[in-house]
């Protein structure tokens, strides 16, 4: 069974009179446990596709199945629950709640899920330790570097033990060193936790970590390549 199944997704944005194509008949299957990069020039539809797969925005037509759940027909509340319980998100920036410490940011999502206070604290500490931030759990986002902030966002995403992590340009604001660190963390989590990763990027530094690269152009899939490693 595939983790994500998209068929014939279309999405058009309206800006005044103008019609902008977001997605143009996109069909894509992503296997569970895979590590996929969505690439393409700016405006090619990477974010739009990611948002559709994550239940953040609904396509105009087409079908999206996540695991065994068809999500394009869910209402807002059901989508919110789906995102909360089954998907982890890492965005380009402003990922974290500025007034909460790293640990509180991680705990916040668990609290929404109804995890008890003790378990929350224990899991948050464990996850922060796993991603190498154990000493920084009391710091606020403003007191962390960009790379550290992104890693806290990853910690938050995996703390809720999702099946799928969607990352939109997670390295765009990072220096090469931090970007490499983050990608190695992704690879680690992908291997150890069997989490499916889909990442939108136009950062060539990070594309090579992916085992499958889907290239978009004007809302259409232009190419879909698996790196040899993936076949191994």
């Amino acid at each position: 069974m595939s983790a994500i199944h998209c068929r014939d997704l279309c999405k058009t944005f309206h800006q005044g009179e103008e019609e902008i194509t977001g997605l143009d008949h996109v069909s894509l299957d992503i296997e569970a446990g895979s590590f996929v990069a969505l690439v393409g020039p700016s405006g090619s539809g990477k974010t739009t596709l990611l948002n559709a797969m994550g239940g953040l925005d609904r396509p105009d037509s087409g079908e999206i199945v996540l695991g065994d759940t068809r999500i394009d027909t869910l209402d807002q509340g059901e989508l919110a629950d789906l995102r909360l319980n089954r998907i982890g998100f890492v965005f380009q920036s402003y990922n974290l709640v500025p007034v909460l410490s790293a640990r509180e940011n991680v705990e916040f999502v668990m609290q929404l899920q109804g995890v008890g206070a003790q378990e929350r604290a224990a899991r948050a500490e464990a996850v922060l330790a796993e991603i190498g931030l154990e000493g920084l759990s009391g710091r606020r986002p403003a007191e962390l570097s960009g790379g550290q902030q992104q890693r806290v966002a990853v910690a938050r995403a995996i703390a809720s033990e999702p099946q799928l992590i969607l990352a939109d340009e997670p390295t765009a604001n990072l220096d090469s060193h931090s970007a490499t660190q983050l990608m190695e963390l992704f690879v680690h989590l992908n291997r150890e936790h069997k989490v499916t990763f889909v990442m939108a990027t136009h950062d060539t530094r990070v594309m090579r970590y992916a085992r499958r690269v889907v290239s978009l152009q004007d809302g259409r899939i232009e190419s879909d390549q698996r790196t040899p490693e993936a076949v191994e």
Partner: protein, 409 residues
Amino acid sequence: MNITGLLAWRNLWRHSRRTWLTVGAMVFCNTLLVFLIAIQLGSYRMMIDNTLSAFTGHLQVQHLGYLEEQKMRQTVPEAAALASRLAEEPHVEATAARAVTFALASSEQRSFGIQLTGVQPALETQVSSYPGLVSRGRYLQQGDDAAIVLGSILARNLKVAPGDEVTLLGSGYDGSVAAGVATVVGIIDSGLAEVDRGVAQAPLAWFQQVFALGDRAHSVVLRLDDVNRAPMLVPQIQASLPVGESLVALDWDQLQPGLREAIRSDMVSAWFMYGVLIVLVALSVLNTQLMSVLERTREFGVMLALGLRPQRLGRLVLLETIFLGLIGLLLGVALGALVVLYFDAYGFSYPGMAEAAARFNLPPRIYPQVSLLSLFLGPLTVFLGALLAAVYPALRLLRLQPVAAMRAV
């Protein structure tokens, strides 16, 4: 600790200057309201106390219908005995019996129609402030017989002074012609024209004899330990009255219906002013919360994307406003209480007030009413106003879509 609570509290201090400005407006308004309301309630109490202690008393026992018709024959039998019996009732501090009739008063030079009151001199001083207002001569005493005290204007109109005689002509209880001659012993000068023109008091015993009343009178006046107890005491007093005599116990509100009316209309105009203050504070809260919601759109978008329900964002904003309002409430009440306690100890007056008060026989200072009501009524209303003001920013969040919010600048 609950992370939503933590979040709300910390969000409040993200822009601490803005928060303090809003809190400052609230505290200022609350302090002012506590002071104004306490003074207002205090002055109502004073107004009631003064008006009632002048003559009316807190409660009266009368014959049924006397209040409306004031007929000579609507009497309270064995009035003096009833008065001393009622004085024993709990919460009753003093009582006095009175008889009233209309009579023609003549001096050597002039005649006027007056309302003559027969009073028990020693007891009357305990239920009425008129006896304390004698400016010339003296008030009636125990043992006085054909004596009379007159208001200053009435005395001037009759051209009499202490020592002069006044002839009184009226009709008795039995319908016969009643006449008596009394010596003026004192002049009452209250400063209120209405009183000084109308007061004429003679000893009850003499009055009963001249007007053939026997032991009857027209009312028994009661002063209580607390004016607020009057309505509650009515049934108790009513129950202790002799049966079969058609007597009724009336509280001050029934005796002087205009008083409460005056207070009510004053209250309405005062609350109009308070309302303006409260709306201003609510608008400042609205402004603060709207700004704080708008500038956090991206952040809210991320939270929504993570799976937070929009309702929770709304609740977060309301919670922030509750914290904001509580700080304003507590500081405002504390500061207001200090101000009110100060004036409770030293009294409040403004320039010229003492002179004006003296003219109307009022105390020169107002003492605020210190009570939970006077301390919390204004600030709680402000608190509710602030919450109400936060409803709009909170409701806006319910329509927020995660993708649109994250795209916002």
